[in-house]
């Protein structure tokens, strides 16, 4: 037991959790904790907007699978964090967000920079704490980290009133915490795994659908072993991109609104799907009713509330998907079953795959999305980490950039938060300084958090921004062209700013690439650079993302390029 103030108790508790970096921005209500941060061994990475702090913590968390930590002050600091917190919640990313709050006796009096962040954040956090006494701090930090990183991960908010940061008290740091209502892990469900195997083996046209949960539980090897043992083709959700090597013979790539043509085509033909760690987002499945027609679904997920939420399942296996897949593998090995790789279903799948890989019509011109993203794949080392912004470029990345090494592709898939990719790339680079990190960006989205260039340059966290620039809010423009008879409104960004000059003004490197050759060279320069590199790649603003499954329609109604 030691006497210390709340700020110091917070830093000690964070250090005990192994925190080495926090992303944040100080203000009136979190000054006492910043004063203790100054005295601690934790590195502070200063952002220029709190939203970016949350995205950096999110990127850090997804890559390291440990909660990323972000700090903000009360009121606007806290509300600015909220978009980033909601993004982490939608994509099940581990995060601990720490906000300052007005002193306890001022709460509820509409004090300066007071906002009810506990109330505001409620549907968008996994849990939130507001310690009212210094003594509570070690326990809420311990609980916060435990909740954020176990089971289905998510963001936890610690909202600490200023006087609780300042006051001194005797504190103890618990080794264990008790939460009677929280049971993140369940035993492996042997009975249903057996049933799943029977169903899978009795089906004629099976497929594996790997979702983001496969990446979160790092079940890469298990997924690949099962697919190879049974010779079952693998599709992924968009969030599951990177769970299975996309250059693998059994890979068909992502399904969904902008899924691969071959993946969507095959998905409409299958009779049984082994769905791993997915919540069956509308963006992945199109319409729920049509998706499950004539389809038997085996659903493996750590979150029991996902079973039956969007799709009806025949067999549900609740639990950590890595543990479940391991058991499944063992049981399959005992059965010593091996489907021959000459089976008719796989032959048909390969025919469809080969057809679409050869015959999908691409946008003309040297600098089409497909060509520039394939060029990036060619020059980028396979272990590099890629994040994306949100928009057309993101869907092109899904279509034309193959994720090969496990867990190297991250995107804001659930909330679809523009501005996510660049700060998330910075967070990813902090987690993995040994590999290159590239943000595949669009101009509209990069625009939203481009001031993180200051953080990247001044904190010496170099990443590459691969900016596919169509001088517009391209996805909105595409929908206006497709669904609103070309009544274009609110989409023209008018070539402003000049991204090369913008990068240079922050002390970063700006390169404009107008040919594939220049592009390849620019990426190589970026890979060897000590500072952030923004590669501005102008493209045709009229290029659409195709194939396209229009909202509210089913995968079989996919629109193909004409």
């Amino acid at each position: 037991m030691e006497i210390m103030n709340g700020g110091k108790a917070l830093m000690k508790a964070l250090e005990k959790e192994g925190v080495k970096e926090v992303f944040g921005l100080p203000g009136g209500a979190n000054l006492p904790m910043y004063d203790e941060l100054f005295k601690s061994n934790i590195r502070h990475i200063l952002v220029r907007h709190e939203q970016s702090a949350a995205h950096m913590a999110d990127g850090f968390g997804r890559v390291s699978r440990k909660p990323g930590v972000c700090f903000a002050t009360s009121g606007p600091g806290a509300t600015n964090l909220l978009t980033g917190i909601a993004t982490a919640q939608a994509d099940s990313a581990p995060m601990v967000a720490v906000t300052g709050q007005v002193p306890v006796n001022m709460i509820g009096r509409d004090a300066f920079q007071e906002s009810d962040i506990i109330g505001m954040s409620n549907p968008s956090v996994k849990y939130a704490f507001q310690p009212r006494a210094v003594e509570e701090i070690p326990e809420v930090v311990k609980k916060g980290f435990y909740i954020a990183e176990t089971g289905r991960p998510g963001p936890v908010l610690l909202d600490i009133p200023k006087d609780v940061q300042q006051n001194e008290a005797k504190v103890t740091f618990p080794d264990e915490v008790r939460m009677p209502g929280y049971h993140p892990w369940t035993d492996v469900d042997m009975v249903n795994i057996e049933r799943a195997i029977d169903l899978l083996l009795s089906s004629e046209k099976p497929i594996i659908l790997a979702g983001g949960g496969t990446i979160i539980s790092s079940a890469f090897a298990e997924l690949q072993s099962i697919a190879e043992m049974l010779m079952i083709p693998v599709v992924t959700t968009f969030k599951g991109k990177g769970s299975f090597p996309e250059n693998h013979a059994l890979s068909l790539g992502p399904i969904g609104m902008h899924g691969h043509a071959e993946a969507n085509k095959i998905m409409t033909e299958v009779d049984c799907v082994l769905a791993i760690g997915t919540r069956f987002s509308d963006r992945s499945v199109g319409t729920f009713e049509e998706f499950e027609r004539n389809l038997k679904i085996i659903h493996m997920d750590v979150d029991p509330a996902e079973i039956g939420k969007n799709q009806t399942t025949q067999v549900a296996v609740v639990g950590d998907v890595k543990a479940s897949l391991r058991v499944m593998l063992k049981l399959l090995a005992k059965k010593a079953l091996k489907k021959s790789d000459g089976n008719n279903w796989l032959k048909h799948v390969n025919e469809v795959k080969d057809y679409w890989r050869e015959n999908l019509k691409l946008h003309p011109g040297e600098m089409s999305a497909a060509k520039i993203l394939r060029k990036l794949r060619e020059v980028l080392p396979k272990e590099s980490i890629v994040t994306t912004e949100v928009g057309q470029h993101q869907m092109w990345a899904s279509l034309f950039f193959d994720a090969i090494h496990p867990g190297t592709f991250f995107s804001s898939t659930g909330l679809g938060t523009m501005g996510w990719g660049f700060p998330a790339a910075i967070g990813a680079k902090v987690a993995r300084p040994d590999v290159a990190v590239v943000d595949i960006a669009g101009d509209g989205s990069f625009n939203m958090t481009e001031n993180s260039l200051a953080t990247s340059v001044l904190e010496d966290i170099p990443v590459i921004v691969f900016l596919i620039n169509n001088f517009s809010l391209g996805m909105v423009a595409q929908w206006q062209r497709t669904f609103y008879d070309r009544r274009m409104i609110g989409i023209d960004l008018k070539k402003c700013p000049d991204y090369v000059k913008l990068a240079e003004s922050y002390g970063a490197q700006g390169i404009r690439a107008q040919s594939l050759d220049e592009l390849g060279k620019a990426v190589k320069v970026g890979l060897n650079s000590d500072v952030a590199t923004v590669i501005d790649i102008p493209i045709d603003p009229e290029e659409d993302v195709l194939p396209f499954v229009a909202p509210g329609t089913s995968l079989k109604d996919m629109i193909l390029p004409s």
Partner: protein, 155 residues
Amino acid sequence: MWAILSIRVENKPGILFKVTNLFRARNFNIDSISVGVMENPEFSKMTITTVGTEKQIAQIVKQLDKMIDTIEVKRLDEKKSVYKELALFRIKSNVESDSTEISKLANTYGAKIHNGQEGSLIAELTSTPDKIKAFEESIKPFGILDSARTGVTAL
């Protein structure tokens, strides 16, 4: 479909808000809600009645179960549990004959009559929601001036 959910939660501030906010955010209905501290003051019991399809109710139970503040979520079987609600009705009663008639009805339903303000009576009935509804219909012709219900509680 009508369902009775019995939820044991930690007795801490803010949990009622979180439970009701979950219903709102997930597009579920709350038909009635009642909350009280349990014999162990660490816990409170919430009883929520809700209306939805079988699938929706199963999903509500799972989402409530997922909440960290809920210790136990049970869907009660109507046939195997006792579920009651307390209702109070202020009924217009200006003439002697009305008051006699209301007392008779109250007797039939097992309601207690309290003296209300001038020209009115208060009927107190503890029963199931459908019996309360039936009683309400029977006294409607006299004129219901005000009413209050606790929501169902159940074991």
